[in-house]
C-alpha cells in the first residue's frame, strides 16, 4: 500500500474514531454514575441526526442553527429518557433497569421507523463541509478535518467542566460513591440529569457530524454505532472519560485499518468491535485505563 493510501486511511480512521469517541463518552459517563448500560444512547444519537435533518429540510434553518437546535433538543430528549425509563427503577434489581434500557432503545427505534419512515434520507451537506484539500497526493474532504477538531474542542470543554467546576466535582463524587455523595448534600438527581444532558448533547454532536460524513440516514443507524461505542468505552475503561476517547479511537482506527490491510475481511468489519471486546474482557476487564475494584463481602 502506498503512503498516500495509508494516510488516506489514517485520516478516515481518525475522523471515525472521533465520532466513536463522542458517542462513547456518553456511555461511560452514564455507566460511571448509574452502573447502567444506556442501550438507548445509540438511538439518542440517531434522534439528534434526524432533528438536524428536519430542521434543515422542513424548517429551512441554516446548518449552524439546525445543529445547535439538534444539540439542545437531543439533550432534553436524553434527560426525558432518564426520567421516564430509568429513574423509576433506580431501586429495582439490575435486570429490570437493563430490560428497560433495551425496551427504550427498541421503542425509540421503532418510533423512528414510524415517524421518519424506513427509507434512507439524504443529509444536506453545506458546501463548507465538502471542500476538498490536497496534501501531497492525499485528498481530504473538509469534514474529515472538522470532525476531529470539533471533537477536541468539545472534549476540552468537557474535561474543563469535569475537573475545574463544582458540578464536575460533584459528578466525580457521585460516580465514586453514590451514597456518600448524597449524604454530603449533593443533589444526585440533578447530577444525573446533567450527565444525561451532556452525554446526549455529545451524542447529538456526533450525530450531525456523522450525517455530514455518512449522509444516509435510517432510523436504525444508531444501533451498530451504539453497540460499538459501548464496547469502545469498555475497552478504554468504563467510567473513565479519557478511556472512552482512547477506546473510540482504537475502535475507529482499527476498523478502518483492518479493512484496508485485509480487504477479504470487509464483511467482518463489524465483528472487529466484538472481537476486541471479548479480548479486553478476558485480558483486562477493567479496560485499558480502568482500575480494578474489589467488592466488599
Amino acid at each position: 500500500m502506498s503512503i498516500q493510501t495509508f494516510m488516506q486511511h489514517m485520516v478516515n480512521g481518525i475522523s471515525l474514531g472521533s465520532l466513536y469517541a463522542l458517542l462513547a463518552i456518553g456511555y461511560t459517563m452514564v455507566y460511571g454514575i448509574l452502573r447502567l448500560i444506556n442501550f438507548a444512547h445509540g438511538d439518542i444519537f440517531m434522534i439528534g441526526t434526524y432533528i438536524a435533518f428536519y430542521a434543515m429540510t422542513a424548517f429551512f434553518l441554516p446548518w449552524w442553527a439546525a445543529f445547535m437546535l439538534a444539540l439542545v433538543l437531543t439533550a432534553i430528549f436524553g434527560i426525558l429518557v432518564e426520567r421516564l425509563a430509568y429513574r423509576p427503577l433506580r431501586n429495582s434489581p439490575r435486570i429490570s433497569i437493563m430490560i428497560s434500557a433495551i425496551g427504550a432503545s427498541f421503542l425509540i427505534e421503532n418510533l423512528g421507523i414510524v415517524l421518519f419512515g424506513g427509507r434512507p434520507k439524504a443529509f444536506p451537506i453545506a458546501p463548507i463541509f465538502a471542500k476538498i484539500f490536497s496534501f501531497g497526493g492525499v485528498s481530504i474532504v473538509s469534514i474529515q478535518l472538522i470532525i476531529p477538531i470539533v471533537t477536541l474542542v468539545f472534549l476540552a470543554m468537557l474535561v474543563y467542566i469535569v475537573n475545574h467546576t463544582k458540578t464536575g466535582m460533584a459528578m466525580r463524587a457521585v460516580s465514586k460513591d453514590y451514597e456518600a455523595a448524597r449524604l454530603m448534600g449533593i443533589d444526585v438527581d440533578m447530577i444525573i440529569t446533567f450527565t444525561f444532558g451532556v452525554g446526549s448533547l455529545l451524542a447529538a454532536l456526533g450525530g450531525v457530524l456523522w450525517g455530514l460524513k455518512y449522509p444516509q440516514l435510517i432510523p436504525l443507524m444508531g444501533m451498530m454505532p451504539g453497540l460499538k461505542c459501548f464496547i469502545a468505552a469498555v475497552v478504554g475503561g468504563i467510567g473513565s472519560i479519557k478511556g472512552a476517547v482512547v477506546g473510540g479511537f482504537i475502535l475507529g482506527l482499527g476498523e478502518i485499518l483492518i479493512v484496508a490491510l485485509l480487504p477479504s475481511l470487509t464483511g467482518f468489519r463489524d465483528a472487529f468491535a466484538f472481537v476486541l471486546l471479548i479480548v479486553i474482557l478476558l485480558v483486562k476487564p477493567s479496560g485499558l485505563m480502568g482500575k480494578t475494584t474489589t467488592e466488599k463481602v
Partner: protein, 353 residues
C-alpha cells in the same frame, strides 16, 4: 401421598386432553392459524431456554438468537437433499463434506441442539466469569459475531442469500411435543437439587459459592442447557418457515424472546408458556397495525413499525409497573383448580405484596 397422586392424575388427564387436542387441531384450524399455533409452541421452547439462563440462574444473556442460528443452520444443512443444496449454493458450492449428507429429522434436531450447546460451552467458558452488564454485552456481541460469521461463510451457510426450501418437518406434534417435553424437563430440573443451586446463584452468588455451589460449573450447565434448547427451537423455526437467513437471527429475535420471558415473569415456567402463546398470537394479530386496515367504509393506512412500537411500549409498561411480569416467580398449581375459593381469597389478601 394422597395429595400427590391426585395431582399426578390431574396432570396426566391434562396431558391426554392436550394430546387429543393436538390430533384434531388441523381439522379445526386453517393453515394460517396452524402456523401461528406451531410458532407459539416453538416460542415456548425458546422462551424456556432463555428463562433457564436469565430467569432461574440470573445470568443476563442476550445471545439467544446466535444459538438459534447455529441450530437452524445445522438442521437445515443436515436435512436438505443434495439436489436442494446444489440449487441453493449456486454462488459457491457447499463444503464437500456436507454435500451428500441427508439425515432424517429427529437426529438432525438433536444435532442442532448439540451444536448450539457446544457453541454455548465455547462462548460460556470465557464469558460466564464476567459480571452482569458485561455478560449481557459479551453475549450480545457473540450473538452478533455468529450472525456476521454466517453472513460471510458462503460455502457453509450460503452467506447472506440464506437457505430456501427447508423440508417442512415442523408440524404440531414436533412444535408442541417439544414444548411439552421441555416443560417437563424444566419442571423436573427446577424442583431438583440442581434447580435450587441455579436459583441460589441468582439470589446471592457469593453465598451460593460459600455453600459449596461451584459457580462456574453450574453457570455453564445452565448456559449450555439453555443454548441446547435455543438450538432445537431454532431448528424447529427453520423447518416451519422454510427459509432461513442470517438476518432472521439478529438482536430483534433475542428481544422478542426476552419480551416473552419478561411479560410472563422471569423465573416462572407457567408464565413463559402463557406469555409465549399470548405474544405470538398478538404479534400476528397486531400485524394489521403495520399494513392498511379495511373496515369496509373506511380504510386506515397502516404505519410500518407500529406493531413493534406497541410491543416495545408494552415491555416498558410491564417493566416499569409490573416488574415481576404476569406470574412473578409463581407456578401453576392444581390447587387453583381444585380449590378456587381459597386461591382467590389468598390472592386478594396478598395483593399488596
Amino acid at each position: 401421598m394422597k395429595k400427590n397422586t391426585k395431582k399426578n392424575i390431574l396432570t396426566l388427564t391434562a396431558l391426554l386432553l392436550f394430546i387429543g387436542f393436538l390430533t384434531i387441531a388441523d381439522k379445526i384450524f386453517d393453515a394460517y392459524e396452524m402456523r401461528i399455533i406451531n410458532l407459539a409452541g416453538i416460542y415456548v421452547t425458546l422462551g424456556l431456554g432463555l428463562n433457564l439462563i436469565n430467569g432461574f440462574t440470573g445470568l443476563f444473556s442476550l445471545g439467544h438468537a446466535g444459538f438459534m442460528a447455529v441450530g437452524a443452520y445445522t438442521s437445515a444443512i443436515l436435512t436438505m437433499s443434495p439436489e436442494l443444496k446444489q440449487m441453493n449454493f449456486f454462488l459457491k458450492p457447499i463444503l464437500p463434506i456436507f454435500a451428500d449428507v441427508q439425515w432424517p429429522f429427529f437426529p438432525a434436531l438433536i444435532m442442532a441442539g448439540l451444536m448450539a450447546a457446544i457453541a454455548g460451552a465455547l462462548i460460556g467458558a470465557p464469558v460466564l466469569r464476567l459480571n452482569d452488564d458485561y455478560l449481557a454485552i459479551a453475549t450480545l456481541g457473540f450473538g452478533e459475531i455468529i450472525r456476521i460469521i454466517f453472513t460471510n461463510t458462503q460455502t457453509l451457510t450460503n452467506g447472506a442469500l440464506g437457505l430456501k426450501g427447508l423440508p417442512d418437518f415442523t408440524n404440531i406434534y414436533w412444535s408442541w411435543g417439544t414444548a411439552v417435553v421441555m416443560v417437563v424437563v424444566m419442571v423436573l430440573l427446577v424442583k431438583s437439587s440442581y434447580g435450587r443451586a441455579f436459583k441460589a446463584i441468582r439470589e446471592n452468588e457469593i453465598a451460593a459459592e460459600a455453600m459449596g455451589v461451584g459457580l462456574f460449573k453450574h453457570k455453564m450447565m445452565a448456559f449450555v442447557l439453555g443454548s441446547f434448547m435455543a438450538g432445537v427451537g431454532g431448528a424447529l423455526l427453520g423447518h416451519l418457515m422454510g427459509t432461513i437467513d442470517p438476518l432472521m437471527f439478529r438482536f430483534l429475535m433475542t428481544f422478542n424472546i426476552v419480551l416473552i420471558v419478561v411479560l410472563g415473569g422471569i423465573g416462572s415456567i407457567t408464565g413463559t408458556v402463557i406469555s409465549a402463546v399470548v405474544v405470538t398470537v398478538m404479534l400476528e394479530a397486531l400485524r394489521f397495525l403495520d399494513g392498511s386496515m379495511d373496515f369496509g367504509f373506511i380504510q386506515i393506512e397502516g404505519i410500518p413499525g407500529m406493531r413493534m412500537v406497541v410491543f416495545s411500549a408494552l415491555l416498558m409498561v410491564v417493566i416499569l409497573f409490573y416488574q415481576r411480569g404476569l406470574m412473578g416467580t409463581n407456578e401453576f398449581r392444581w390447587e387453583w383448580v381444585t380449590n378456587p375459593k381459597e386461591t382467590i381469597t389468598n390472592a386478594w389478601k396478598n395483593r399488596k405484596a
